[in-house]
């Protein structure tokens, strides 16, 4: 008679987070241990516990405050928080999810641009070659981020140390890689 099964409400962000990551926001009881141990906690405008608090209430304006924050882009996924969380909440999974949500809504924090450029350049690199081509990645990142001068001093040194290949490593089955990206990212 009684049904114990629980279905997340997909109308709410909290519900979509639960459906997408398996993390139930209500498990967070605001002890702050995540914020206390976070290596970038003092850099964040919203530390992880605040992110959870704002999302827990389910008010759209508070959700948006989170999605617009810079802090969510600073999460390094170092898993310090989740491995110490007394409630075993997988916080980095939620961070991944809400970054995606912020992008989808087009309200990601302006400072996320650099970080995003890097990740996009990274994935573009492997989409075409199968493996990460570091020189290409950095060049591409510079174009995207317009930080043209960054690290110009480092490259020659690395080249001397034999750490920079001039040509990308291509895998054989590059069409397979294309398919893989197409089926997961939905782009071709």
């Amino acid at each position: 008679m009684s049904s114990g099964s629980h279905h997340p409400n997909l109308e709410t962000l909290a519900g979509r987070i639960e459906a997408g990551t398996g993390v139930k926001l209500a498990h967070c009881y605001q002890c702050g241990k995540c914020a206390a141990g976070c290596p970038v906690g003092d850099e964040m405008d919203l530390p992880p516990c605040q992110v959870f608090r704002l999302l827990q209430l389910g008010f759209p304006d508070l959700d948006e405050k989170v999605l617009r924050s810079e802090g969510i882009w600073l999460c390094l996924a170092c898993e310090t928080c989740s491995s110490r969380c007394p409630q075993e909440v997988e916080i980095p999974k939620v961070m991944d999810f809400i970054r995606g949500e912020a992008l989808k809504r087009g309200i990601a924090h302006p400072k996320s641009k650099d970080i995003l450029s890097f990740h996009r350049a990274f994935l573009d690199s492997i989409e075409y070659t199968g493996r990460l081509y570091e020189v290409g990645l950095v060049a591409d990142y510079k174009l995207r981020s317009r930080h043209m001068l960054k690290d110009v001093m480092l490259a020659p040194k690395m080249y001397i140390k034999g750490k920079l290949g001039l040509f990308p490593h291509l895998i054989k089955n590059r069409s397979g890689m294309k398919t893989l990206f197409k089926r997961t990212m939905g782009k071709g």
Binding site: L76, I126, K150, K161, G176
Partner: protein, 288 residues
């Protein structure tokens, strides 16, 4: 011992010496490495940020290739790679309903049977042999730096203990080094912000370098290419941030063992570091 080998992208480029020293040491110990053919990038540090499906499919392709080659155990020296492979494998084991979609994406069957091991696990099995073959004891004071991805999240990696891990400490002891007691073995170095937020990397890695020196370490030993990049490639930024000049080298555990086994430093890629591997005469060293 025969074992599958997934070097990952960093080991082809910025961390070549990790690849070189891993191959050199394992060959010297009689381990035969079978490289996964036509492997791709695992997507580490970027795929999971942008697309969850992709962060499953990239590692799944590697694991499927390994299965096809009959590999039952894969060594992924890069901590980020081994972490991503394990995460994907466990998620697919917990959600078998996702496998069909992943198989379609990678265009081959996926079973998820190969066991993924990190470099410390493999070296740990060979510890007695390493101790026995040590000809040039590495008589240094060592700050063992494990970083995040080797031990966290504990539910995924299930390796060593999540705080104050011991495996690398035991390993360096086996080759004559003295591990220093320090609290930052698993603090984050800034990882993927190496390129984008060098300021954060300088701050986080700076804390590590400073404390290691303070506690009397001669060298910081790592088992992760990302950690190494931040502690080595980014040293000038670190020193600039700290306003102090720290020349303490950062070495891969495989290099340390290689030196102890008496292998050629060049074959171990020692010369590739930005911070030169040079030691002051220390008490520990002169005692030898």
């Amino acid at each position: 011992m025969r074992i599958g080998y997934y070097p990952g992208c960093s080991l082809l480029g910025s961390s070549r010496e990790f690849d070189e020293s891993t191959r050199a040491v394992l060959t010297a110990l009689g381990v035969e490495l079978t490289e996964v053919s036509d492997w791709n990038c695992c997507g580490a540090s970027s795929a999971h940020v942008l697309n969850h499906e992709l962060s499953l499919a990239l590692p799944a392709r590697i694991l499927a290739l390994a299965e096809q080659a009959g590999i039952t155990e894969i060594l992924a020296p890069c901590a980020a790679c081994s972490n991503r492979l394990l995460s994907a494998q466990q998620e697919l084991a917990a959600h078998p309903e996702k496998i069909a979609e992943i198989e379609a994406a990678i265009g081959m069957p996926y079973k998820g049977t190969a066991k993924i091991v990190n470099i410390l696990e493999v070296l740990g099995r060979l510890k007695d042999q390493i101790a026995a073959k040590t000809t040039k004891p590495f008589a240094k004071k060592v700050a063992n730096y494990y970083g995040c991805l080797l031990v966290r999240p504990p539910r995924v990696v299930n390796f060593d203990r999540p705080e104050d891990p011991q495996s690398m400490d035991l390993m360096v002891k086996a080759v004559g080094a003295t591990p220093v007691e320090w609290p930052f073995k698993t603090e984050c170095c800034g990882a993927a912000f190496s390129v984008t937020r060098t300021d954060i990397v300088a701050k986080l890695s700076g804390k590590l370098v400073k404390d290691a020196v303070k506690r009397g370490a001669d060298v910081i030993v790592v088992a992760c290419p990302m950690c190494h990049s931040n502690l080595d490639l980014r040293r000038s930024e670190i020193n600039e941030y700290l306003g102090e000049q720290h020349g303490i080298p950062a070495m891969f555990i495989t290099q340390v063992i290689g030196l102890a086994l008496g292998l050629d430093p060049v074959a171990l890629g020692i010369q590739r570091h930005m911070v030169p591997v040079e030691f002051k005469e220390t008490a520990a060293a002169s005692a030898q």
